[in-house]
Structure formats: C-alpha cells, structure tokens
C-alpha cells in the first residue's frame, strides 16, 4: 500500500513537472511530444487506480492519435507559438486559477477514495451489475460487460461518431495535401 502511495506521489510530481515545462515552451514541436508524455503519465496513474479501461483510452487517444494529429497539423502550419501580450496573459492566468479553485472546491464534496458509504457501494443496482452480471453475460470485467452488452447500442453510436470525426479530419488533411501537390506542379 505504501508503495502505491509513493508511486502515486512520484507520478503526480512527474505530471506537474511536465505541465510546467509545457507551459514554458514556445516551440510547439517538443510541446506535441510532451503532451503525449503527459498522457502516458496520466494513463499510468489510471492504471494505479485500477481503471485499465480508462488508461487504455487515454494512452490510445492522448499519446497515440493526438500526437500524430498535432504533427500532421504542424506540417500544414508553422510550429512556433505567437508571442501574446502581457495583459492577455494575465487574463488567462486569472481564468485558469479561478477554474482550478472551483475544481478543487468541488472535489471537497467527493467521497474519499474507497469509502464504504458512497452510492456506488450502497445502491441496490450494485448487486445487479457486479454480481448478477457474471451469470447474465459471463464477461469477467464489469466495465466491458456494461460497455459492450448492457449499453451496446450506445457504444455502437459512439463508435460511429468517433469514426465520422476521424474520417472528417482525414478528408480535411488529405484535401490540403492535394492542393499542395497541384501547387508544385
């Protein structure tokens, strides 16, 4: 248990270090790679919290697809951040701190990690999903059972949305590529 706490602490320190480095950089190319690193770190944290499904999504989307999309964008635009006026930076800082303070305040209302009296533990549906699911659907992982069977149509719709979005991005990037080629010719 102590090892897990120490690991949690270490990974969070890594996260903060990467976030500060991200904020300080002006050249966007290392920023794209560091964002992927940030994703990998948070995916490790999710794994530590016993949420492998979330970790898998975070790694695939955050570290894999987003990095490649950022790089493809840099191929079309320039990879350097424009300097921002100091007054606008102050506004951004204030908004960021206000949002952060609100989130911290909201997290005070959350139950403690692993608490016994949360709705997750006391609600009658808990038996339905965690116990009866094993006989009904026979998938060892409850999250997978919910995603693929209990709300299978919802997941299908979600997949269609993500597929359409990916297709749209590919069409947009592909069109500009053709444009570039006809300019060369």
């Amino acid at each position: 248990m102590t090892t897990e706490i120490l690991l949690n602490f270490g990974l969070l320190v890594f996260l903060v270090a990467v976030a500060l480095a991200l904020a300080g950089m002006r050249h966007l190319f290392p920023v794209a790679m560091l964002t992927g690193l940030y994703s990998l770190l948070s995916a490790s944290l999710f794994t530590l919290l016993n949420a492998p499904d979330v970790a898998l999504t975070e790694a695939a989307v955050g570290a894999g697809v987003t990095t490649v999309l950022f790089l493809a964008t840099f191929g079309l635009t320039r990879a350097r951040e424009k300097p921002v006026k100091a007054s606008r930076q102050v506004i951004g800082l204030v908004v960021t701190f206000a949002t952060g303070a609100m989130l911290v305040y909201a997290s005070l209302d959350m139950p403690h990690f692993g608490a016994k009296d949360t709705p997750v533990q006391t609600h009658p549906l808990r038996h339905e999903y965690l116990v009866a699911e094993q006989h009904e659907i026979d998938v060892p992982n409850t999250v997978t059972a919910v995603l693929a069977s209990y709300r299978g149509y919802d997941t299908l719709g979600e997949t269609a949305v993500v597929f359409t979005a990916g297709l749209g991005v590919l069409i947009l990037l592909g069109r500009s590529r053709r444009g570039k080629r006809s300019n060369k010719a």
Binding site: L7, A17, F29, L40, S44, L48, A59, A63, V68, F74
Partner: protein, 95 residues
C-alpha cells in the same frame, strides 16, 4: 522483488524525464520520450504483477505498440517536414 523493480523503473523514469526537459537538441528529446514510453510499459507490467492482476500485461503491450507508432510519426515529421504522405514524389516516403 517487484517493489525493487518498481523503484528502479521509477528512478530511471526520473532520470529520463530530466533528459526530456534539459535535452539540448530535439533528437535528445525524441530519444528520451521514446525511452520514457518504454519505461511506462515496464512500470505497468510490473504494477500488474505487484497488484496481483497480471491482465495488465495486455495494457503494457498496447502501450508498446502506441509508443512505436508515435516515435515513427515524430521521426517522419523530422525527416520530411510532414508525415511523408506525398509518396508519388518520393517513393521511399512510406518505408
């Protein structure tokens, strides 16, 4: 034994992170980030066995694949300035 492994991997992660943040050239950063991904794979694999849930090994395998694809994309960007798509101009672009 798993604890010793976890501590060792966490230490190497720290060293690699220092190289990512300090690395003078972009290539240092790319190499360091690739290494960091490999360390994450190791960390998650070790974590699975440490927590008694060796199924996490699947997760580690997926990370290994993603890490590989990400590094290839970054290096292609460095080489060609884009992802090497216009292959009719350069035949070796998609190698």
């Amino acid at each position: 034994m798993f604890i010793a492994g976890l501590i060792g991997v966490a230490m190497t992660m720290l060293l690699v992170l220092v190289r990512v943040l300090a690395g003078p050239t972009v290539y240092d950063r790319i190499l360091a980030i690739n290494l960091f991904g490999t360390k994450t794979v190791l960390l998650i694999a070790l974590l699975g066995f440490f927590a008694g849930r060796p199924e996490f090994l699947d997760l580690a395998l997926t990370y290994a694949l993603i890490n590989f694809i990400g590094t290839i994309a970054v290096l292609k960007f460095m080489q060609y300035g884009d992802l090497g798509w216009d292959s009719d101009a350069r035949d070796d672009a998609d190698v």
